[in-house]
Structures are given as C-alpha cells and as structure tokens.
Symmetry: C2
Subunit: 350 residues, 2 copies
Amino acid sequence: MRNFDINEDPHRRYNPLLDEWVLVSPHRAKRPWQGQKESVATEKRPEYDPECYLCPGNVRANGEQNPDYENCYVFENDFAAMKQEEIEFKADSNTTFFRAQPERGISRVVCFSPRHDLTLPEMEEKDIENIIRTWQKEYTTLGANDFINHVQIFENKGSVMGCSNPHPHGQIWAQSSLPTQVAKTQLSLKQYYTKTQSSLLGDYLQEELVKKERIVLENDYFVVLVPFWAIWPYETLVISKRHFGKITDMTDEEISAYAAILKKLTIKYDNLFSTSFPYSSGIHQAPTDGQLHPEWHFHMHFYPPLLRSATVKKFMVGYELLGESQRDITAEKSAEILRNLSEVHYKSEL
Amino acid sequence: MRNFDINEDPHRRYNPLLDEWVLVSPHRAKRPWQGQKESVATEKRPEYDPECYLCPGNVRANGEQNPDYENCYVFENDFAAMKQEEIEFKADSNTTFFRAQPERGISRVVCFSPRHDLTLPEMEEKDIENIIRTWQKEYTTLGANDFINHVQIFENKGSVMGCSNPHPHGQIWAQSSLPTQVAKTQLSLKQYYTKTQSSLLGDYLQEELVKKERIVLENDYFVVLVPFWAIWPYETLVISKRHFGKITDMTDEEISAYAAILKKLTIKYDNLFSTSFPYSSGIHQAPTDGQLHPEWHFHMHFYPPLLRSATVKKFMVGYELLGESQRDITAEKSAEILRNLSEVHYKSEL
Ligand SMILES: O=P(O)(O)O[C@H]1O[C@H](CO)[C@@H](O)[C@H](O)[C@H]1O
Ligand SMILES: O=P(O)(O)O[C@H]1O[C@H](CO)[C@@H](O)[C@H](O)[C@H]1O
C-alpha cells in the first residue's frame, strides 16, 4: 500500500477554532472549468463620483449629506439588519422547535477614504493606520452600550462578494448576542485556555513559525498565514504575535505593523490574478460583555472566493452546503504562491 | 415598550438540526439593490447537444462514450474529489493543530434524463420516480462497500450554483467519514431520540401541520415547508410523514408521492421568478455504517440563492461568514409566497 501523501491524496483536516472538518482534494485542481465566470471591473474609477452615496459631500438615500471628510467617515447604516429599540418579549419556554428572541444592534458603515478610486492595497500605510484607529474607537464606543456585547468589524470587497459600491468601505454590526461563528470560536479558545492557561492561536502560531510552509508574511508584531484548515482557496489568517484579546489593546507599534501587513497582504492578493481581488474579511476578538476574556487572541480572517483566475471562483454549493467544506488546492501550495508574489502592486508597475 | 412582533422586528431563530442560530431582519427586504446581478440563461436548449458530455452517445473528457441511455445514466465522476484507493497512514497523535486523515470515497454523476433540454419541473412524474429508484440503487450499492459509511446525494442546478452543464444531472459523493453537516444533524437527531424515543423531525412536522403557516405543499406521504430556522430566502425542507431513515425504506406509494411533490415544488420555484430556478438540493438520511439509526428521519434540503428576482441573489458574505447566517424575509412570508404560486409551469402557459 502507498504511504499517505498530504500533497497528493484526498484527506480531511481539522479546524480547531470551529471544531469542524474540511475535505481537501489536491489532485482536483486539474479539472477543466466550463462553468460560470465572474465579470471583472476594469474601468478606471474617478477620485470623486457624484453618483456615489459614500463620497464626501454627497447625499444618501435617506436625505442626509456626507460631510467633506478627509480620512475615515462613519455613519449608521441606512438599511441596518438590527435596530436599537428595546422590545418587550416573553420567551415561549414551552417550545422545542420555535425558539426565537429579539435581537438589538447597531450597524455602521466605515468609509476608509474620501477617495472613490482607492482600495486598501493602494492606500498609504498611515491611512490604513487611520482605519485601525477608527475601528478601535468604534469598538470602544459601540461596546460601551449596555446592550452591545459583540462588535463585528468586516469588509465585503468586490461585487462578487455582494458589495454594491466600489468606494472603499467596511461595515460594523454590533449586537447583544454572540454570533454563531464567534460563539464557536470562543468555546474552542476557552476550552484550550482552561486546559493549558495558554492561547490556542499563540501556540498554533509558534508551531507555524517553526514549520514555515504556510507563512505568507511576517513582521515584528503580526503574521499572515494560510491556516492548515483553510477552506477558501486563498484564505488567510492575520494573527498578532503578542497574546492580546482586542483591537484596543494594540500599542502604537502594533498599529503600524498591522497597517503595514494589511497593505502587503492586499497587494499580494491583487497581484495574484492582476485584479482588484475580492474578499470578505473581518476581525475576531473579545466580546464587549464586560467579562475578562483571557482566552481571546486577536485575529483577522480573509475569505476570498477566487480559485483559478480573476474570473473563476470556488463555488461553495451542493456538497459543501449539505456535507462539508471542500477545497482543491492545499493550504501549503496556496501559501507558497502568495509568499512568492511581489510586494509591489501590479498597477504601480504598469 | 412595544411588544415583540416576529413579522417586523429583528430577531434570532434557533436551528435544532444544526444547533445554530440565524439572524432574521424582516424590515430589511425594503432596501434597494445596486449590486451584482446574475445573468439569466434564456436560450431554448436543444433536446440533444452534440457538445454536451452528458448527452447519450457523446464522448467524455476521459475518452469514454456514454451509452444511448433512455432513463437515468450513472457514471464515475471523471474529476472525483475522493479516490477509492486505500492509503497507508500513521496518525500523528502528538498534534493539536495539524490533524489530518486520508479520506476514501467514490463520486458519481447521475444524469436525470437523456433529454438535454429538460429539468426536474419539466419531467414526467414517472421519470422522477426513475431518478428516485436510481438514488435507491446507488445508496444500496455504494453503501455496500466496507469503506463507505455515508452517501451524499445532491444536485447543483444553475450556473450561479457552480453547475457547469445544464444537462439535467445530480451527483453522489460517497465516503468513509460522516461529513461535518451530517454529523451535526445526526448528533441533534440522536440526542432528541435518546431523550424522547421519538423522531425530532416527525414531532416538528406534527406541530407545523397544526400551525400551517410554513407549509408549502402536502400530500399523503410528504410535506414541503420552509423551516422556521431557514437561512436561504426560499429554502425548503421535504420531510416524509412516516418515520423512516433512508431512501431504500420507501414503499412504491411513497416513491410516487415523493416524485409528485418534487415536481410540484420545482414548478413553484420556476414560477416564482419565471426562470429556471437555481438551487443546491440534497438528501440527508441514515449513514451506511452498518449500525441501526432509529434517530434518522429521511429529509431533503433545497437551498436556492435567489432573493428578489431571477437576477438578484442573497449574498452569504462578510457578516454571514464571520458572524452568523442572516436573512431579510421571514420564513412565514416565503412560505406564503411559495404556497400561493401556481402548480402549472409558467412555460406550459406561454
Ligand atoms: O463537481 P462539479 O459539478 O464540477 O462542481 C461543483 O460541485 C461541487 C460539489 O458541490 C463543488 O465542489 C464545486 O465547487 C462546484 O463547482
Ligand atoms: O450591507 P450590504 O453591503 O448592502 O450587504 C452585503 O453585506 C451584508 C453583510 O455581510 C449581507 O447581509 C448582504 O447579503 C450583502 O449584500
């Protein structure tokens, strides 16, 4: 019998953050693709677009006018998924199958820059630092509300990720409950911390820094790697070297290092298929429930959908929805490809 | 304070099959959509396409020729995600973060009809019965292999679901391990069964048949409903009225009733936006691990991505990937819309 070769043979890998498995089919990257292709936006965008509801000075759907902002600009989402209003509610404790509870929350939009034509990889490091400081402020002020126990900071980039406006921006959904994925992650971190008095992600990072094969970027304070259990083709995880739980714990040096590594990572992403690379990204950190959370270790996920080119994405459909996440290229191979890409943006080389 | 109104106020609902929550934002259906639109395939397909690798008599990528089949035709997937080969493997029991294990499996493609131009809603009931009998046969023969413990039957329909060939077909991925979603479902079914000696889905169905508001279709043996905890806008669940665990337990009457309700459901789906409605569907049933599984209750999930029209889908992105599944229209509203749709296909009325 042949010996198992993780680079060639179908296998499953375990995700210790979510306590789930992923199916890996390395040999399958060879299959031809005749299916749907995404369209690529190639037109050069203007610095200011009079039609854009995120550009400075423009009027939004609800009639409000954006200020002439110069760095970041934050406003309440005009079509928020949650509301702040407190609602009278009597839980039906008698039901097994019809459990529902009202959910309070605040949704905000964070414009990353007044410039309509920029994206993270094209911004200056100091402008990305500004975004990080804005996230810090939002985490603090939103989390200070009694009814806000979790602050989800995220970005949907690219129309393929449901983003309807190319103006650089992210979102924040803050709410009373811990969302499902965060609750799962917290459970894993906590079980590990209780057993070892140590950070799961910190210990994982130590082993990855020795093995090196999944590392994409590293500086004094942060590491970007393709996690062993990644599901998206070019999924990455940004982990702080120091064990802290939330974005407001960062020192000035860490803020600079975080900005620098985000810029480098998103440049590599754009360079991968010479396109403005779509993804959903978001920060996982300690909840704002007033408890100490020594188990939490600040990290950021990047979930990009593209697989083979600027137009061919990975479809998470039938088997994936009903059975299990599945990937065609190994985490090691993806990391190697990302690691070897230039840190100079392809557009600046044109 | 206002009283909680489940039809208007943001809330979370609990999914007892997966032990997860979903965020429901009923008021959000009103927001305008300026984002990506899907393209709609409108061209009339020929009954036979000489370029299609699934049509009878045609040659596939690997050089094999399809027979002149008359009903269903099953073959091994030329680009299978798993392989049958047994691999020598020594587990590294010393690792917390790098857990992997080889996975053996068999992937098959099931052509539903020799006719290139048909889809389930346009097929005769007796032809759908044929597909069900084919699924039965595959479940039995694949499951008879010692190394196959689970048989996942599913269909990806439409290019938006990653389906690269419109010829009506589904897939079967059979494998050694229980996939993540199935393992979660089995755990919930089992815990409930151990406690009550009764079927979770059977008991749920009884309550739904009394409440009626989420029922889409019903006949003597099957019910289609929008589950209370649905995440996709028009997600449905097909549940057998009788408590049995696997497709091979069906009587002839049940096979007919299953075929009839699948036809009606997919006709309603097509009628919803007057389009060939995309979805991923799949059967959840007892594993083929040789154990008795009294907890299992045969059911089929339909996960369709469309939200507002033939071209606007729901994006499961940023918040959904990092936080929690989120929907903009309540399950009750979706069920009402589906229930009120005609059972005559819109094309036959043209
Ligand atoms: O096997 P197919 O139809 O080529 O591929 C399709 O279904 C598979 C199973 O859900 C997915 O893994 C692929 O991403 C999708 O494109
Ligand atoms: O809020 P937006 O950008 O309009 O909407 C986008 O992001 C949301 C949060 O991930 C999703 O719920 C929507 O499906 C998506 O289109």
